[in-house]
């Protein structure tokens, strides 16, 4: 039986209690509480959680990544790693919403839903049982449906939420179907036992096992935004409130990858199939579609939405080559952490731009570098980090990722091509990031500087320090990732 003092349960205790308490508190205060009051409580809860997990990593008081466990939750470094990445993004979102939510209704519920969604993602990463994974998956999804549609007077927010809801509900239905097959074939819902059961499966039942894994890929793929399951993503990212998009793009996506690593990658090893090629093809398709479509966008949210589809492709490279080189999963995890910070910061920057200037059209962003220097700098740094320019942190993760693909070349003839495709795509992405940067810094009249929201500036500064600092001195992050990446059985 799982210890009540294990890390995930402590996080549930902190975030869940605060998340449930916030709306009650708001009713008790006659719904008059200011936005900042609830934001500070949510911030404190998130900061306490991050401190708790971080403390365990620093003291080394954490089990190495075990991947499987006899319980529904595995208290290991893999889960802890994802917990930190997601909590960082949730902190960004909370801080970034500070200004965004100022004049809007029901702030208490807004922050409560952010906390609930966050604990859902964290639990997804810790799950070692399919039932737990499914419930956590819904705990992550359902609050984000509401958050995406939180601007009730705004048609595009509602449309975003409806589309997100439809695809999200479909993905969870598909996941249950996949779980039902996996359970039927192996008689257990524990992922470890399912994988062992798959390995010992009768040949006549093999197609069903394959079908089940295929359904898992499709179900998780919806959340990760893999091609061809990505159609909802640009509309949703464009319409939903920008701080929420930061949460969606930078965190829920990552939960999809965590689930995919726990279930699909390891499950497929058990099936002993040449599945990696399929993942490789999806990876190349995903990054190409994402980056090509991103070039054509006029709206910065849409552009970043496509770029985040592209990034799902990069991360998938690591999963595709993972059976043959430890660098595969390490690169993926590294990229996941970096992408969480970069994308989170980029969308928070957009939230800042929206709250002050109320524009998202790229043409209207001319001269942003002078109007809002800190936000623009943070945005540009994140964009260049996304493109993988040295010496920013994003460079190192791509290096490990593509290095992993080259490393696997001895076992898989097509693996180096993944790296080549990745480099080409990065070059492509540099084109539109560069175009955006030129717009912001070299175009437009001499405009006066306007007041930037302090909370947005705080996120920008944190992200810039993170990206530049770990770009120049990547050692600690690399060690962190090496510790957290599970070793393939």
């Amino acid at each position: 039986m799982l210890e009540i003092t294990s890390t995930p349960m402590i996080l549930v205790a902190i975030l869940g209690t605060v998340g449930v308490a916030l709306p009650i508190l708001s009713i008790a205060r006659g719904e008059r509480g200011s936005n900042s009051f609830y934001a500070v409580i949510a911030f404190a809860a998130l900061a306490a959680s991050i401190a708790y997990v971080g403390y365990q990593f620093v003291t080394g008081d954490i089990a190495p990544s075990a991947v499987f466990s006899d319980d529904v939750l595995g208290d290991d470094a893999f889960g802890g790693f994802f917990a930190i990445a997601m909590l960082i993004v949730a902190l960004f979102t909370t801080v970034g919403s500070f200004n965004y939510m100022r004049k809007r209704n029901s702030p208490a519920v807004y922050y409560s839903l952010i906390l609930l969604a966050t604990i859902g993602m964290v639990l997804v990463a810790y799950s070692t049982d399919l039932v737990m994974l499914f419930v956590a998956w819904e705990l992550m999804s359902i609050p984000t449906y509401v958050l995406a549609g939180f601007l009730k007077k705004n048609p595009s927010s509602n449309e975003a939420a409806l589309k997100y809801f439809l695809f999200g509900a479909l993905s969870s239905a598909i996941i249950v179907y996949g779980i039902s097959l996996a359970y039927g074939l192996t008689g257990s819902t524990n992922i470890g036992e399912v994988v062992r059961g798959f390995a010992a499966l009768d040949a006549s039942l093999m197609p069903l096992a394959l079908l089940s894994v295929g359904l898992f890929i499709a179900g998780f793929g919806f959340k990760m935004g893999l091609v061809p399951f990505h159609q909802w993503l640009p509309d949703t990212y464009e319409g939903a409130p920008s701080p929420v998009v930061a949460l969606l793009a930078a965190a829920t996506k990552k939960a999809g990858f965590a689930a995919a690593i726990r279930v699909v990658v390891l499950g497929m090893v058990a099936l002993n199939l040449d599945w990696t090629l399929a993942l490789g093809i999806i990876a190349v398709m995903t990054m190409t579609v994402g980056n090509v479509a991103a070039i054509m966008q006029k709206n910065i949210s849409r552009m970043l939405a496509y770029s985040s589809i592209g990034h799902a492709g990069y991360i998938l490279i690591g999963l595709a080559v993972s059976p043959h080189t430890p660098l595969g999963l390490q690169g993926s995890l590294y990229q996941i952490l970096n992408h969480a910070v970069m994308k989170g910061a980029a969308f928070i920057a957009i939230a800042g731009i929206v709250t002050t200037l109320a524009v998202t059209n790229i043409d209207k962003l001319a001269g942003l570098g002078r109007k809002m220097p800190v936000t623009a700098l943070g945005l540009v740094l994140s964009l260049f980090a996304l493109a993988g320019i040295p010496p920013l942190s994003g460079f190192w993760s791509k290096l490990v990722l593509f290095g992993g693909a080259l490393d696997a070349g001895s076992a898989l003839w097509w693996a180096p091509w993944l790296a080549i495709a990745g480099v080409l795509n990065s070059a492509l992405s540099l084109a539109y990031y560069g175009w955006l940067t030129r717009k912001m810094y070299f175009e437009g009249e001499r405009e006066k500087r306007i007041a930037e929201p302090k909370s947005i500036m705080a996120v920008m500064i944190f992200a810039s320090v993170f990206l530049v600092g770990f770009g120049i001195y990547p050692e600690p992050l690399i060690q962190f990732v090496e510790f957290a990446a599970p070793v393939m059985p």
């Binding site: 039986m1 799982l2 995930p8 349960m9 549930v12 869940g16 998340g19 449930v20 709306p23 719904e31 008059r32 319980d71 529904v72 939750l73 209704n105 029901s106 519920v109 409560s112 839903l113 609930l116 969604a117 604990i119 859902g120 639990l123 049982d129 039932v131 737990m132 419930v135 956590a136 819904e138 705990l139 359902i142 609050p143 449906y145 509401v146 549609g149 939180f150 009730k152 007077k153 039927g184 009768d202 006549s204 039942l205 093999m206 197609p207 069903l208 079908l211």
Partner: protein
């Protein structure tokens, strides 16, 4: 002459049989239908309760080991032997209970009449065939198990399938959304019927209470709330519909083929169903973190749905006042 009339009469009788109901059952696809649970006897009144005389069922907590059943059988078939009960099982004073050899038993029921302690009854289970002689000898432990006798579940499953799938199609295709949502209730109720057939009464109840009782009703209310004339609006083009039907057929065929080709086809079980109390044990021992997460899901969805559905202008009034 004789030949011709013979042929005509044969044809006549053949044609008649096309119309009249068949007397035989297509065993094993079709099974006998029973009334009651099998032959029983009440020693206090001395009255037997009519029923099929099939395999016996022994109630260990009643049997005293008095051997009367065995004595009754001695003059009939000598099918009953009194054997020692293993120590870990329920005992009586003499530690003996009847063991019945169905290679010998003639299903006369005299042993049931002889038992003064309500310990021996007969059940509707008549499918006792075995590949070995030993397989026909039922120990007290085996006699204790209540047989699972399916009566006409084949018919039930066909009927349920028709209801479930038919109303699923109706839910999607009926022009009116109101009727559509009522049809959806049919699907959900049909699924609950399947759960009952699968010996999952608790899940069936939950399905009825939550799905049919609240989800479907909620949908119905929403549909009624949304303006009437818009409900009947239908925008569909033929091409997409054809493509959709094609997709559906591909999914059904391929998945159906996978299931039929795979080893799943022959799986049946004779084991008794799990007790639904086991589910409760599961919840508190193994799945308890999921239960907590579930509670958070419900909390989040309720507050979220309330905030979304609340009218903003009313709320603003409250704020200014």
């Amino acid at each position: 002459m004789g030949t011709a009339t013979g042929i005509i009469r044969a044809l006549n009788s053949g044609v008649k049989h096309l119309a009249i109901k068949r007397f035989t059952l297509k065993y094993p696809e079709e099974k006998l239908k029973f009334v009651g649970d099998g032959y029983q006897f009440d020693p206090s009144t001395g009255v037997g309760i009519a029923g099929l005389k099939g395999r016996h069922m022994l109630f260990h907590d009643h049997c005293t080991g008095c051997q009367l059943c065995s004595i009754a059988c001695e003059g009939v078939a000598e099918a009953i032997a009194m054997v020692k009960v293993p120590e870990d099982q329920k005992q009586n004073k003499k530690s003996i209970m009847p063991q019945i050899d169905y290679g010998k038993c003639v299903f006369c029921g005299l042993c049931v009449d002889a038992c003064p302690f309500y310990a021996l009854y007969m059940t509707n289970d008549y499918e006792l065939s075995s590949f070995t002689k030993e397989g026909l000898i039922y120990t007290p432990a085996q006699l204790q198990v209540k047989p699972f006798v399916s009566q006409d579940s084949e018919i039930q499953i066909t009927g349920l399938t028709v209801i479930t799938i038919g109303s699923a199609i109706a839910a999607l295709e009926l022009r009116s959304l109101v009727y559509g949502s009522i049809a959806l209730m049919g699907t959900l109720g049909g699924i609950a019927g399947f759960f009952l057939l699968l010996d999952a009464p608790f899940v069936a109840l939950f399905q009825l209470a939550v799905y049919v009782g609240s989800i479907a009703v909620l949908i119905l209310f929403t549909v009624m709330l949304v303006k009437r004339e818009l409900i009947f609006k239908k925008i569909e083009d033929k091409r997409r519909k054809l493509a959709g039907i094609g997709l559906m057929l591909v999914v059904m065929m391929s998945l159906g083929a996978v299931f039929l080709e795979s080893g799943v086809k022959t799986i049946t079980t004779d084991e008794p169903a799990v007790d639904f109390r086991d589910i409760g044990t599961d919840f508190v021992t193994y799945y308890w973190p999921a239960l907590i997460a579930m509670a958070l899901v419900l909390a989040g969805s309720v507050t979220g749905a309330l905030v979304l559905a609340r009218r903003e202008d009313v709320e603003n009034d409250q704020r200014t006042s």
